[in-house]
Every structure is written in C-alpha cells, then in structure tokens.
C-alpha cells in the first residue's frame, strides 16, 4: 500500500501543522529570533514526507516540536486532530547520532520504550524478536552498542523507535553520521520497513538526493525564519529503491527543482504573522 492510497481512505490528515512558530530569546536583547515562523504542513496517514532545508533553517526545532520536547509559541500541531501536549509513544523518534544507551544491549535498547509503555517481559521479548528480524540484526541481540558498526547502531535506533508501535515515525537526519555506502543501504532498508509497516514518516535531512529519493512529498524549507517554501510531489514509482531511481531523469528533474528552490533567495509572498505573547515566547530549555 502506498502513501497516496492510504491517504485516500481518510480525509483528516494524520499530522496537521498550522501557523507554527517557535522563537528563542537573543542574548542581551529583548529581540526574539524566530527559528520557525508560520510553518504550515499537512501530512496524510501513511505518507512519507521529507523536510529539506539549509542548516540552521529550524529543521531540528521543528522535530523537537513534533516530538513534544518543546512547546510552540504560536500555531499548533495536530496529530489525528488532537493538539500534542508533550512526548508520547504515538510518535517514535530516531535521533541524529543514534542516541543508543551504551550500557544496554541491543535487546535492552529496543526494549526501552516498551518498558516505559509498561509492556510485560514476555511480550517485550517477543517484540524484540520481531523487530530485530525486521532490521536484520539477528544474532546481535546481546551485543553492546560499542561492539556494532555505525549502520548497525542506526538499525537498532530504528528498531527501538518502531518497537513501541508508534503511528508516526520522526527521523532527524538519521543517516548523517554513516558512510555513503551504508547510507544508501539504510535508505533502501528504511523504505522497505516503511512499506511493511505503513507508518507515517516525517524525515528531516539536509541532503536533497535523500529527501527526493525517499519521499512521497518533499517540504522545502527556507531559512530565517524557517518556514515551508514549497511542497514538491515526488511521484516516483513505489515500491521504490533509492539506488534504482537515483539515475532516472524524473529523479534528476525533481532534485534540480528542489535545488533551485533552495537557491532562490526571493521571499515568499507576505503573510500575516500570528501574534504571540512575548513573555511566553522566550524559553529556557533546561536539561533534566
């Protein structure tokens, strides 16, 4: 089932981002810096959407908001029509640089979300078996992260995010740290996992090829403030392998269009900026 077919079944978008903004206080001044401003994007059930933009365009801020680790200063994010209030296990996340717990084996890493969810031991073991198989890490269940290659660690991170069965998978440049060859393999593996599981995926990247190769639609972001400049329908055939489509004419046409959009410095037509409370807009993200 492709994303488009899945979307036809339901009229309510899976994720609806409306007029989203997030500001940070500037040091030594009352001025605010808008990492994200008036960001609009609608994502259908089962769709694979990539968000591409220059570094510093607010991609990671957007993902933080989607995860629920930080609160928007304006606008809203609706998942299944309900505003998100914080992190929850209906959204799985794969962070940049794996973020595996080094003191936990592959098995225990995959179990982390399940423990939080309160899944019983026996059931956890079964789920681990299933997801270890899905990401092709059989035989490595009892290895520690330091004993694995970068690509394998990334697979553990994906399995960990999938294990608690979220409906949405949020991915923050997950393949940025692995070498080019592994990266391509991982992209194809991700696509096949997505085809098998039918999750809605929001995938953030700074690589245009990756964005186009994976996605149903590519949201191209502009910088300062970060907002959606354009949404490109990819329309390459599914099931797809990045390695197969990479040299097609269609692929090159789309990537160059995205590239042009990213190059183009013309501002978007002016829109109303949502009024937000200045006091609330300045946040202080404390750790722990």
């Amino acid at each position: 089932m492709t994303g488009v077919e899945a979307a036809a079944e339901t009229s309510v978008p899976k994720i609806e981002i409306v007029g989203l903004s997030r500001a940070f206080g500037k040091k030594g001044s009352k001025e605010k810096f808008y990492a994200i401003q008036d960001f609009n994007l609608s994502i259908r059930q089962g769709e694979f959407v990539t968000v591409v933009g220059p570094s510093g365009c607010g991609k990671s801020t957007l993902l933080d908001l989607l995860v629920g680790l930080s609160k928007p200063d304006g606008g809203s994010i609706l998942v299944d029509g309900k505003a998100i209030t914080g992190p929850a296990l209906d959204r799985g996340i794969v962070l940049q640089g794996y973020a595996l717990f080094p003191w936990r084996t592959v098995r225990k890493n995959i179990e982390f979300g399940l423990e939080i969810k309160g899944v019983k031991r026996g059931e956890r073991a079964e789920l681990v078996r299933h997801y270890v198989k899905l990401v092709e890490l059989e035989g490595f269940e009892n290895h520690y992260p330091y004993e694995l290659s970068g690509g394998m660690q990334q697979r553990v991170a994906i399995a960990r995010a999938l294990a608690y069965d979220p409906e949405v998978l949020l991915m923050d440049e997950p393949f940025a740290a692995v070498d080019a060859q592994t990266r391509e393999t991982m992209q194809d593996e991700l696509l096949s996992i997505w085809e098998k599981t039918g999750k809605t995926v929001v995938f953030v990247t700074h690589s245009i090829e990756e964005a186009v190769g994976l996605a149903d639609r590519v949201a191209v972001m502009s910088k300062n403030p970060g907002r959606v400049k354009a949404v490109i329908d990819v329309g390459l055939p599914r099931p797809r392998r990045v390695s197969d489509v990479r040299n097609t004419i269609d692929f090159n046409v789309i990537t160059s269009r995205v590239w042009e959009l990213l190059q183009n410095k013309e501002p978007l037509p002016e829109r109303e900026i949502p009024q937000t409370n200045v006091e609330e807009a300045i946040h202080d993200d404390a750790i722990i």
Partner: protein
C-alpha cells in the same frame, strides 16, 4: 572468551611482579644487599605476626576495617545525592552550595583531626569523621563530573520516549554516572585508608595504625613492617573487590585499567 583470557593474562602479569618483589624482600638481607635491622626479611615480619598472635592481629585489622567501612558508607550515602544535586539536578541549589563545598574540600583531613580529637575526645567519632572527610570529596567530585559528562542526546531520547523524571533518573542518569561513581569510590577508598592509618596513630588505642605507631614507640621494627604489609594487603583486596564489581556492572564498554592499582 577472548576477554576472559585477556583478563587472566593481565592478572598474572601483576602477580609476577609482586612475587618477585616479595622474593627480593625475603632474600635481600641474606645476600647482604640490605641491613636486616632496618629491612627485616619477609619471614621475620610474618613470624612477628605469629608472635603477636594471629587472632590479635586480625582483631586490629577488623577494627581498622570497620572504621573504614563506616566512614566509607556514610560518604557514599551523602556524596551520591549531593553529587546529583550539584551536578545539575537542582541548578539553583547547586550554585548556592558549590562555593562552600569547593572551599571545604581544600582542608586536609589531617589538619582536622586534632580538632576532632579535642571536640570528641579520642575514639571512634573523630576517626570516622576523618575518613568521611577524605572519602566524601572524591566521590562527590566524580559524581558531579559524571553528571556533567552526561550525553544530552540520551536524555532527549529518553524524554522523547515519554520517560518521566523518575525513569530518566534510574534508567539513564544513574547507569550513565555509575562508571564515574566507581572511579570515585576507588580513589576515595585509597584516600580513606591512608587517612585512617594517620588518624589511628594520632589518637586511638586499637587498629593497625595504632599498632604501627605503638611499634615505632617501642622500636619493634618488624612489627612496623607487619602493619604496613597488612595495610597493603587489605587495601589491595578492597580495591580489587571494587574493581570486580566495576567489571561486572560496567561490561558495556572496554575497561582499560586492571583491578590492581
């Protein structure tokens, strides 16, 4: 399997040198390398232990050990929570307490002992306090350091999986800090043992430190060596024990150092 062999190999390497040292100690006077009055051979030292009475020696050892264990346990119990607070758990309290604590830890426990002696009189309380003083700060410092080195990514990952504060602490912070804590406990233990001997020789009527001090007063040189040997062996064993605990619990990253320091 490979790791096990390597471990055995490392252990044997250390043992060889110790055996060689003991052999040299034993035979150096016979070979005329050293004066047996000042450096009596190992067997003389050991027979001194037999003369003193094995039971009596062990009692002194146990008294010393008890003092270390009490001081050590209190230090861990106090150093752990305070370390987490000062390490960033409660930022406001941390900025309030930190200056005083960095000030206090500059005081060498030796200097405090005469004061404790005056206030509490000779006895256990003063000795426990000295040991506490010398063990507490290494533990506190390594816990603070461990919390500071915490990978923010891991906290983000845990929170993204909707872990609450309790879960984040027990599933992420504590295991992440554990290796630093072990490091602090080992250096704290070494410090505590050193200070114990000092404290016991200044104002106690039992324990290995007192035994050494007493032997010095009476000019029983082999007994001084006996005391030193007991301190070495007990300190070594305690450190070894902590090393084993560390290796059992921290098997998730390659441990470079061997148990014997």
């Amino acid at each position: 399997m490979k790791r096990l062999l390597l471990k055995i190999n490392n252990k044997l390497m250390g043992t060889y040198l110790i055996i060689l040292f003991l052999l040299v100690w034993q035979f150096a006077p016979d070979l005329g390398w050293t004066n047996p009055t000042w450096i009596p051979p190992l067997t003389t030292v050991l027979s001194e232990g037999a003369d003193l009475g094995v039971a009596k020696t062990i009692i002194h050892m146990c008294i010393s050990l008890r003092r270390v264990v009490i001081g050590f346990a209190v230090s861990v119990a106090a150093g752990l929570p305070l370390g987490f607070i000062l390490g960033g758990g409660v930022p406001k309290l941390s900025s309030f307490l930190k200056p005083l604590i960095s000030f206090l830890q500059q005081i060498p426990p030796y200097i405090l002992y005469p004061l404790f002696l005056l206030v509490f009189g000779p006895g256990e309380k003063g000795i426990h306090l000295v040991i506490f003083w010398s063990v507490f700060f290494p533990i506190l410092n390594t816990v603070i350091q461990g919390v500071g080195e915490l990978d923010a990514k891991l906290l983000r990952a845990a929170r993204a999986m909707s872990a609450n504060g309790f879960e984040v602490f027990f599933k992420v912070v504590l295991p992440a800090v554990f290796p630093s804590l072990m490091r602090g406990m080992r250096s704290g233990l070494t410090m505590g043992f050193l200070m114990l001997i000092g404290a016991e020789s200044m104002g106690a009527d039992s324990g290995i430190g007192w035994m050494i001090h007493n032997a010095q007063g009476l000019g029983w040189i082999p007994r001084i060596y006996l005391g030193a040997l007991i301190v070495c062996v007990v300190g070594f064993l305690l450190n070894y024990l902590l090393g084993v605990i560390e290796r059992v619990f921290v098997d998730w990253k390659p441990v470079a150092d061997s148990a014997a320091q």
